[in-house]
Symmetry: C2
Subunit: 335 residues, 2 copies
Amino acid sequence: MVTLSDVAKAAGVSLATASRAFNGSRDRRVRPELRDRVMEAARRLNYTPNAAAQQLAGGETRSVALIVHTIADPYFSSIAAGVERGASSFGGIVTLASAGNDIGSQVEVLETLTRQRPRALILVGGVRDDPDELARLRAALSHFRALTGAGVAHVGQPVLGVSTVAIDNEPASADLATALVGQGFSRFVVLAGPRDHLTAAARARGFTGAMLAGGATAVEPIHGDFTRDGGYAAMVELLDRDDRPELVFAVNDVMAVGAMAAARDRGVPVPDDLCVAGFDDIVTLRDITPSLTTVHLDLEDIGERAVRLALDDQASGPQTVHVGGSVVLRESTRR
Amino acid sequence: MVTLSDVAKAAGVSLATASRAFNGSRDRRVRPELRDRVMEAARRLNYTPNAAAQQLAGGETRSVALIVHTIADPYFSSIAAGVERGASSFGGIVTLASAGNDIGSQVEVLETLTRQRPRALILVGGVRDDPDELARLRAALSHFRALTGAGVAHVGQPVLGVSTVAIDNEPASADLATALVGQGFSRFVVLAGPRDHLTAAARARGFTGAMLAGGATAVEPIHGDFTRDGGYAAMVELLDRDDRPELVFAVNDVMAVGAMAAARDRGVPVPDDLCVAGFDDIVTLRDITPSLTTVHLDLEDIGERAVRLALDDQASGPQTVHVGGSVVLRESTRR
DNA sequence: CTGTTAGCGCGTTCAC
DNA sequence: GTGAACGCGCTAACAG
């Protein structure tokens, strides 16, 4: 393993000069001639800096830690792509960790990431509404922040006391509802996801509120998993009931797709007998038929912003930026 | 920032003892009583080891580097989920980097990852068939291996001279073709993806060979991007031709979905007027209609195996494990 | 501008 | 068993 001092020796300069040649110290500069000699020696010897040593010696860390529920979920992987872009824009790399949405593993993952002393931490995804768990996570997060000095940003609801890219679920869902009321829908149901899931709850609330305000009537919401299968199960439950509304709002796209699959399996045509809408506008799902009415979110951009926010956090402290969604009316709610 | 020596002081032992209390040195052991005192002090002081220091001091690295084309693509994100599982099974974390499939950025990313001195590197995804570029990548990879001592594994075709999880594209595609011939298909076309893409080529070759062997006839394959839009464009091109085969094989699922979208837009019903098959069995795409005939790949498992292979690589040198796919006949090729 | 020196936090020889 | 001392590769004060 060739080290910087090997390079320095080969170039006939001191270690310090070699170091400065690489990452031009702010105040101290190096004569171009020497700099070139160092760079050439480095190339000749095939030198690659050791990030661990740099970090230990007080250099800046260039890693961004990212916590998601599962990277296999398109919602998270899209955001991850944005985070990745944000990180590489300043020469950083992303260290990925997944934790379910149980606080236990989230805290555990946080501890593992603490060892890395990353420059920034992005936590993506819904948090449970349980006050205890919320408090635990807040504590772990602020502890992490204090300990590592890293910037922290959360993507989701602004309830963690850290910088957050707040997705305006409630107004966006309301917009969707308004558009749908405008299309003449009146009786609806919400496939509301997990009972204590903040994001799910916000979407359900926004949608329901605006529908009711528009004169529509709601049937009892159905809870379940925030997944495709959760959507499927919820739809089955709905179809087993006596009264069936004309519109189903699933709080995310994958649930909506599951719900449509269930309807199909039960022989209920969408949108003819039943209309369905989702939320997120997942790219991979844009080609399903009927095409899904939903709320578009620029997920990659959200990830990128989260990185910027986390980086700023180090300087300016916690901030919140809001991002909206835009209603996309498609076939699944065509009357 | 509390360090190990703080802990040692608080526990009234030496630094060395504290270190051994944490990660029990092979030969040297610590009296249980002291060990407990150290652990308690650590907890009390909220000590977290510094990974960079550990690495620098000669401890083992616990990071697995992962290179994908884009993490937003479900193919890659599924594999990434497996890699993540594999890494956390030994307490490791994954550092994610994306590089297109141009060698330039791949080599550049490799250089960035070299700084991290990871324990293992997983490179996922198609490589271009250009001999020059292939050689460059092989060189960069073996250089990386030599330099960092990390285990390396590749997911794809075994052409890089490193351990690889080889996806048996050709036989699997042949199986698909055989099944389809059995259904009575005779005239077909392949949406073949990029011209110099090894994986795409292998799939096209396997499929075409078996179809021809089964007595079917091929029309000129259509090349394009390995993406949804590439599939769409290819299908448009196909439909603009005079003669239209009865079966279209897209070399991956996202292309197949794009192709089906194009057929739909052009008013060509699938599977009635035209049948479509894909490859990968992407989870998110399982609910599209008509459901897609494809070759199932256990992507998460593939990612996990890649990690094991890379870890073994450090000891036993390059190996290749083959993974097959299984044909899944669904609606999109129903006669 | 450039070189010398002192650590960063920890694992690991060595002595005891 | 335990502790003292050294060094991993590098950056950041200090001097010159």
